[in-house]
Structures are given as structure tokens and as C-alpha cells.
Symmetry: C2
Subunit: 395 residues, 2 copies
């Protein structure tokens, strides 16, 4: 017998993935060219060519026993040091390998952080809309997710609301910048504001409140907007990073956790992060791709591909009467549903072979998310379907 929890979850929580599978099903019926799958954040821009040459170099240069072998659970020291130096160079900090733990992508990184810090009943604040799986990551580790809405429309953090939500049980505030699902970017003033609230409340309650910054979209930014680096503004910060989007390697599960060198109990914390990596069964981040990352720190993908997609789809949706904050980063549009029931709206879209994810999944009903990391030609071809969908709901 499958566990009761899993039995209940079957067909339930797996919304984005169910969409992904539904896309495969529809493609079988209508042909893949006639299905507009905007459900999943699977980058369509290839990884930089350097990834390929780096892998070949590494295979030719390194002893396979070391290359493919176990290393410290925290990862290869030289790779962690290279990442630390890269952070220092970009953001003027003073990290060493002792402040970096390699992770099996950002999802695993978050599981590892929560396992490290949460006691039963601890509260973690996150800002809606937020990435749905946060719910499970917090619950798995005995925590309680406390959802604080952003300013609806701009989706910028509401500092007063965050402060009001902090209780003596608050262990961490978690942000995602650039944000999935909205694509908005929190500016420096906002991060400074959050840091000030956390400093004040940490002092008031006599224990540190962590800031967790989930940063996989850091490099996917348009229009020269700057994404503040959270570690610069608050000591007790975990940055959780993944190369899934910035190097288009989502299937390879490679990322890291970085902490401020002056985080409370920094050394013990890193040791616990490494232990959590082992205890969760991951053991360590995939070895070869750790080495690849060290050789690709200066690489990037062509974000203009995403920007062109954004502009085409954003402008078309606005012309149809949709309301949407213009995203400055990531590759998502978070659009107001034309009816209050976002699930019903997404079902209606499916009849036009458009696959999108209801805002409810992100803690923000009445909206839906479009992942526009697909081909420009596919988006062009979808415009007609969007027009038909909008007409169906025209007032």
C-alpha cells in the first residue's frame, strides 16, 4: 500500500508536472507543433558551448577515480573556492570555500537549508506569489509556512506586512529574486528594508531570524536592471543558487548554498548543511558538473532570446485586455485571469491547447503563470489561440 499522504497527493499537488505530462498527451493527439505548453520553466536556450568543451577537458585531464569519486559532502573544495572567489569578485565580499556547500539544484538546496535550521513548529515567512514547492520543503522539515502577500499588481514586498507577520517562532524569511512566478525584481531599497526589519526583530526576540534568498534567476535580467545580492545586506543570509537557468542545465541538478562568513555559528552551520546533504540521501552534488561549473563561472546564456519572447507575448496579451506586471527578469509572465476562478480559466485555456499554471499554485488565486522559455516561433503561433481565449471571456 502506498502511504496515505502520497495517495492523496496523486493528481493533486503535482500541478506543474501534471501540466507537463498533459502537454505530452495533447502533443500526441494534435501534434507537438499545435500544443502551446507554457507550463514549465525548462529553458529553451542551449547551455553555452563552453560546457561541452569543459566536460571534454575535464575527462581528459582528471583521474577518473577522483573525478567521479566521493568527495566531502559539501563538495570539491577547489570548486567551492572558485565559486566563493567569483562571488567576492562580483559583489565585493570575503567568502572562502568554507562558506559554500554544493547542492543538487536549488530545490535540494532549500531542503538542506530547512533541515539545518528548522525545529518543529518554527515559522518560515514567504511572500506570495511564491514557488509552490516551498510548501512541501518547509513542511517536510517540521516548519510552518506563513504566507505574506506582496502588493498585488506590482508584486513588490510589503515591508509592514512582513514585520507584522514575524512572531517569536519565526525562523526565517524566504524571498525569490527575480521572482517566480511574476518576473519582478526586488530592488536594493527593498532588500535593505527587509534586512532592517530582520535586524530589529532578531534583536527584539533575542535570536537571529535568517534570510533565505532563492536566486536561480539572478542572471536572467532584462533592461539593465540590477538585482541586489542579498548577502551584502544581511549577515544571517543563505543564498540558494542553481545553474539550471543561468547555464541552462536544469536536468543536471547543480547549484550551491552560500552563507555570509559572519553568519551566526557559520562553521557549525556549514557542517550541518553538509550533513543534511548526506542525510537526505543526495550525499553530494553530481561530481562532474561541480568541476564543469568551476570552468564556466564566466559563461552565460543569451537572455535576449527570452527578452524577445517576453516582448512579443506581453504586448499581445496587453492588446487583448490582459493585465500583467511587466517582468524584468526570469522567464515568466504572471497575468490576471479574466475570471476570478484561475483554475477554470486555465481549463478553458487548455481547450485552445494553451497550457498555463493557475495562480493558486503560487499562493495567489485569480492569476495564471506563463513560462515563456519556449521558441519564438511557438509563441508567434500561439498568438491566435490567445486571441480566441480572450474573446471567449471578453466583457
Amino acid at each position: 500500500m502506498i502511504s496515505k499522504k502520497m495517495k492523496n497527493a496523486l493528481g493533486g499537488s503535482s500541478l506543474i508536472r501534471a501540466m507537463f505530462e498533459e502537454g505530452h498527451r495533447l502533443a500526441g493527439i494534435y501534434g507537438p507543433e499545435n500544443v502551446f505548453d507554457f507550463s514549465i520553466g525548462n529553458p529553451n536556450v542551449p547551455a553555452p558551448e563552453r560546457v561541452k568543451t569543459a566536460i571534454k577537458e575535464i575527462l581528459d585531464e582528471e583521474d577518473p577515480v577522483v573525478l567521479h569519486g566521493y568527495m566531502s559532502n559539501a563538495g570539491f573544495e577547489d570548486v567551492r573556492e572558485a565559486i566563493a572567489q567569483d562571488i567576492n569578485k562580483k559583489y565585493g565580499l570575503n567568502l572562502t570555500f568554507k562558506n559554500v556547500v554544493m547542492a543538487v539544484g536549488a530545490g535540494s538546496g532549500l531542503q538542506v537549508v530547512f533541515r539545518t535550521i528548522l525545529d518543529p513548529g518554527d515559522e518560515v515567512i514567504t511572500l506570495a506569489p511564491f514557488f509552490g514547492p516551498y510548501r512541501g520543503y518547509v513542511a517536510d522539515n517540521g516548519g510552518k509556512l506563513v504566507i505574506v502577500p506582496t502588493h498585488i499588481g506590482t508584486f513588490q514586498p510589503d515591508l509592514a506586512a512582513i514585520e507584522a507577520a514575524i512572531t517569536p517562532n519565526t525562523k526565517a524569511v524566504m524571498i525569490n529574486n527575480p521572482n517566480n512566478p511574476t518576473g519582478v525584481i526586488y530592488r536594493e531599497d527593498t532588500i535593505k528594508g527587509i534586512a532592517a526589519v530582520l535586524d530589529k526583530k532578531s534583536e527584539e526576540y533575542g535570536h537571529c531570524i535568517y534570510l533565505i534568498s532563492d536566486d536561480p534567476y539572478r542572471e536572467l535580467v532584462y533592461d539593465d536592471v540590477e538585482v541586489p545580492y542579498t548577502l551584502k545586506y544581511y549577515k544571517n543570509t543563505f543564498v540558494v543558487y542553481s545553474y539550471s537557468k543561468s547555464l541552462s542545465l536544469p536536468g543536471e541538478r547543480i547549484g550551491y548554498i552560500a552563507i555570509h562568513p559572519e553568519m551566526e555559528d557559520a562553521e557549525d552551520t556549514v557542517q550541518c548543511l553538509a550533513m543534511a546533504t548526506r542525510d537526505l540521501g543526495y550525499t553530494n552534488a553530481p561530481a562532474l558538473f561541480q568541476k564543469v561549473i568551476a570552468k564556466c563561472l564566466n559563461e552565460s546564456v543569451d537572455v535576449n532570446v527570452y527578452k524577445k519572447n517576453r516582448d512579443l507575448l506581453y504586448n499581445h496579451l496587453l492588446s487583448l485586455g490582459f493585465e500583467c506586471a511587466k517582468p524584468e527578469g526570469a522567464f515568466y509572465l504572471f497575468v490576471k485571469s479574466m475570471i476570478p476562478d484561475d483554475n477554470a480559466f486555465c481549463d478553458a485555456a487548455k481547450k485552445h491547447n494553451i497550457l498555463i499554471v493557475p495562480g493558486s499554485f503560487f499562493g495567489c488565486p485569480g492569476y495564471f503563470r506563463i513560462a515563456y522559455c519556449t521558441s519564438y516561433a511557438k509563441i508567434e503561433k500561439s498568438l491566435d489561440a490567445w486571441t480566441k481565449l480572450a474573446k471567449e471571456f471578453a466583457k
Copy 2:
């Protein structure tokens, strides 16, 4: 503040890894050539050359967007199908890709299985000595590990004891064959016996009791002993497999879970395994290495290297008066400590720069584990240290 649980675990549960780190420390003091680190199962035989050529072929042949992209949480279908056909060919079964879910090594595979099947309070029986982290994998998913000793000395399963330990709350029996830490192999009769007990008890209690077979050492077998393939003997079996040892790829975190096509609720179960893979934050097994595995199904490492190591060390230890079951597989010796306190004995060994793991970690005090997956030369050099250690405790 780190969580209380992690704080307590610091310096506690991480025994093998603490040894591994201790080895690094001692190497710094005495030189790596003078430290005899037998603590961790990190293969010293290189991965087959085919791994390297396969990676290069894949990089040259496949579209990087697909190769490094997300796939179904269960893994690439073509890889799962190739593994299923390989199992069918070797063991005369009828699996398809629908019975295989790719895993981030065996550790993650076990986490995924327990997450799929365990309700709070469910019991999982395992046979001591057993791989220490089983404790955490079961506890993480709300289960209770029930430890049933094997016949001490031969370390073969005690069928009557297993049967007596099964209660209405028993959800699964977990075995590890060839066994870590003893290196003994459970024969066909034993597996048939366990299957018969499980059939009888499943019927008695009106619900299936799963068999979980943790098989990472399947191909590391000496002296032409045959390891029975558990799926052939019991329908409700999960085989958890890893290429960490059979292809010397422990750092790459690649393995799979295979179930019998006629397992109860097979289709739902596989869907839950895939969901669990996602929910734990792994999302999927590393993409490139999934593809590598499909090209390396006929590859193997040279087990004679391990066999030579075994013979050298086993014979020497016996000549010194140590008692030990001769291992037929894996790369471990499980030796009776010369004093009842195995922790004290391992501490004494450390003074001779010998790093070994106390049997208590494996649920079997009074013994210690030697991982002999190191170089022959290193083992030769260690013989003297073993002699001195034995003399210290000579009666």
C-alpha cells in the same frame, strides 16, 4: 540558530564521514602515504573507459536543450526502457520503462521508496549488521526501524527471527545483498525463504508487506557466487540500485528503483516514486549520467583488484588471530573486535593511523568494518600497523 536535532547530530551520527575527514587531518600530519584509511566505500578502481567515450559521444550527438533539460521526474524514458530490457535479459523478467524510476544514487532511491510507502508508525525490518544511514531514511519518513540480527558469525538471515518480528504494522523488510558491512551474500534459498515469510504474513494481515532490496554491490562478487535477483522471487519488491560501485561513479549520484510489473498498484506506485523524487528537491537523477548509463549497461569494473585486496588483508588478519566471515562480495571485511568495546578498539587503531568504523554504527557492536577499496600497495604497507595493533590486544 541551527535546529536542535542538527546541533545534537554534530559530531555524532556522521561516523563514517567524520573518519573520512579525520583521514584528511592525519594525512596532513603524517603524510597521506602513512595513513591507512579504511573508513569509506569510495572505489579505487577507475570507471570503465567506455564512460568517458560515451560522454563525448552523447555531447556530440544530442541537442543540449534536451540533454541537459528537465525530463519526467522519473527520468528519460529511453534510459528507463534500456535498463528494463537489461534486467529482462539478465534475469528473465518482463519490465518496461514503466517499472523503472531513475534515482540520485541508492541513498536517494531509499528516501524516495520510504516516502512513497510509509505512513507514520509503519515498521521497516532490516537485518543487522546493516548500513547505518537506514536509520535516518526510515525515521525521516515517519517509520520505525526494527532491527533483526542475522546469525552472528555467518551473518546470514535468520528466517524465524524475521517472521517473529513481523507485526500488523510491518510495511517492509529491507535487505542489502551483497551486504555492507559484512560482504556476505544471501543465497537463492534464503531469498525464497524471505519471500515465503512475506507471502504468508501479507496474507495473514491482509495487506502487502514490501521487500526492499538495496543492491549497489550486486556486481562486486568473487569466486563465481551467484547473487539472486530479488524481483524474481517476490512481486512486491523494490530493487534500489546504484552505479556507484559497479561503474565506480559514486560522486555522480546515479542509480534507479525497479519494481516488479505485477507489484500491487504498480502504476500509482511509480507515479508516487516520481513525485517523491520531485518533492525531496532532487527533481530528477542527473541528466547526462542517465544517458551515460544507457550506453554502459554491458560495462563493468575489474573486481579482481578488490579480490586481491581482500585476500591479502583477510589472510593477514586471520594470521593475527582476528575472526572474520570471508566476504564473497562488496569490498568490506567485518571483523570481530579484540575487545568488546568496538569504539575503543577503533580509537586504538587510530593510534596506528588505521581508520576503521565501529560495528555499532551498523547495529552490531563488538565488530569493526574495513573498506578495502584502496590500493594494494597501501594495504601491503598497512600490514605492519595491523600486526602492531593485534599485539597490543594479544591475550
